[in-house]
């Protein structure tokens, strides 16, 4: 009896284990126990499809990739197992799209508003592939290559050819120049401060009383100048009258100036006086006779 019970228990466990293994495998491989229906799609080689990749309709999972076969014409003949009875509008293109950041892909249907639906065994329309991780990685690779080349060039210029040393030298020279300029600025600042101090001292040393008296003297001198100018003006006016009078020929002076006969008489008189003076010099005794006793 014990042996029979052992037999049953062992048999039960073995059968349970085998069923678990088989059903589990089928479930994992086929996405569940429902059979669904197959659709077929062709994608270009290198699409990155694997068995078990999800099939989406606008992002919602409706099945999985159940088989992928290489075709000699450069395509992957892919069997898409649509689980349940999820209908997919006919002519909806299936596209291989990236799924996550590790290079996994999925097949995504973009549904169209069509009356008809895909049915078992249909070959679906393949859409243009989207840029996936592979393309992005290739782009990143090219960027990395450029950065590497740039780094290499910088390394060559800055280190191998001494550019870095030159740069350091330039920086040292610039620092020195800045130090010199700072010293000059400091000196100028000191001198400017001294100048300002002197100016302040000179300003404070000026006696305002003297300035006031000087200003009042200047004011008085200005008044004197005004009266002098006024006197000169009246003097000029008087002179003008005299000159006008002389010009008119009235009076002794005018006649003396304007009458040619008088001029001639005076000239003759002067001539005779000159002769007289000469004669006096020549013969003084004729005119001067000094007797003391």
């Amino acid at each position: 009896m014990k042996k029979t019970r052992d037999d049953i228990l062992v048999g039960l466990v073995i059968v349970t284990g085998l069923v678990l293994a088989v059903v589990g495998s089928l479930w994992l491989a086929r996405g569940g126990l429902s059979k669904g229906y197959p659709l077929y799609a062709r994608f270009a080689w290198g699409a990155g499809l694997k068995t078990g990749a999800p099939v989406w309709v606008s992002g919602a999972t409706v099945g999985y990739v159940s088989d992928v076969n290489f075709e000699p014409d450069g395509t992957l003949l892919t069997e898409l197992r649509i689980t349940g009875s999820q209908p997919i509008p006919k002519q909806s293109p299936a596209t291989v799209v990236p799924n996550g950041i590790f290079g996994d892909v999925a097949v995504n249907f973009t549904p169209l508003r069509a009356g008809a639906k895909y049915v078992t065994g249909d070959t679906v329309v393949s859409g243009a592939p989207t840029a996936g991780i592979a393309q992005l990685t290739a782009k990143a690779d090219s960027i990395t290559t450029s950065v590497t080349a740039l780094t290499s060039a910088m390394n060559k210029e800055l280190i191998a050819n001494g550019g870095l040393a030159d740069l350091r030298s330039s920086l040292a020279g610039t620092n020195k120049l800045i130090a010199q300029l700072s010293a000059i600025a400091a000196t100028q600042s000191t001198q400017l401060s001294a100048t300002m101090a002197s100016l302040r001292r000179a300003t404070s040393a000026v006696d305002s009383a003297k300035i006031d008296s000087t200003l009042s003297n200047l004011r008085a001198a200005s008044g004197n100048m005004t009266s002098l100018t006024r006197s000169l003006d009246s003097t000029g006016h008087a002179l003008n009258q005299i000159v006008a009078k002389v010009d008119s020929g009235n009076g002794s002076a005018a006649k003396l100036v304007n009458d040619p006969a008088l001029y001639n008489d005076v000239h003759a008189l002067l001539g005779r006086m000159d002769s007289l003076v000469a004669d006096i010099k020549k013969n003084p005794k004729r005119y001067i006779n000094v007797k003391v006793f």
């Binding site: 042996k3 062992v10 085998l18």
Partner: protein
Amino acid sequence: MRIIDKASGPFSRIGERGYFAADIVRALPEWRTYGGETIRQMRNIGVDSIPLTIIVAAFIGAVTAFQTRYQLFGGVQLSVVGLISRQSIILELGPLLTALVLTGRVGARITAELGTMRVTEQIDALETLAYDPIAYLVVPRIIAAILMLPILTVFADSVGVGTAFLTSILATDILPSDFMAGLQLAFAPFQIVYSLIKGTVFGAAIAFFCSYEGYNADAGAEGVGRSTATAVVITSVAILILDALTAALLAPYLQG
């Protein structure tokens, strides 16, 4: 002379185990001798180990799901948790930890049983009665372990994945659909076969090394204890080595 003895020691021990293996193969045709005993051993080794296997697998699955979820950085799809849980449990943790745990439970028991029979001269008595002790005592244990370890591994894988799923959806922010998407991603049926192959190899290792140590136990209770400890250590190391070997040999075929 002692140096030669010491140097030849490891080879001698390997040779002794080789002879033991040859005796087992020689005893295989005597199925009438071990047929009934094999069922009893399958019960002892397999059926009675199910609770322990399930407990271990349940915690393995839960811990794997937790660890995987909280190691993910931003931007990584949460379905990765399902994928990593499945791959970790089915390909590695399920068969390996089940075998290591059963080394303690089943292997130690085999060594202790056979060692006690050796020191109490029951094995000698079997020989006197014209029974082949290898066929009657060792072969059933080895066949039972080879048959039942894969079954226990299937239980461990199922329970581990199940608890990983429950842990993910109940204790983390992962949605059932996310976990299921990862669980089914890039699955190849050979992954289950790989797990079963590991279970088979580990089962054979447990039964073989532990039977050898028990069958050749020294006299006395101390000898049995020493043999048991040696059997557990040798079997554990052998399982780890076989794990690496199977991975190296079979991993290239795992791609989904």
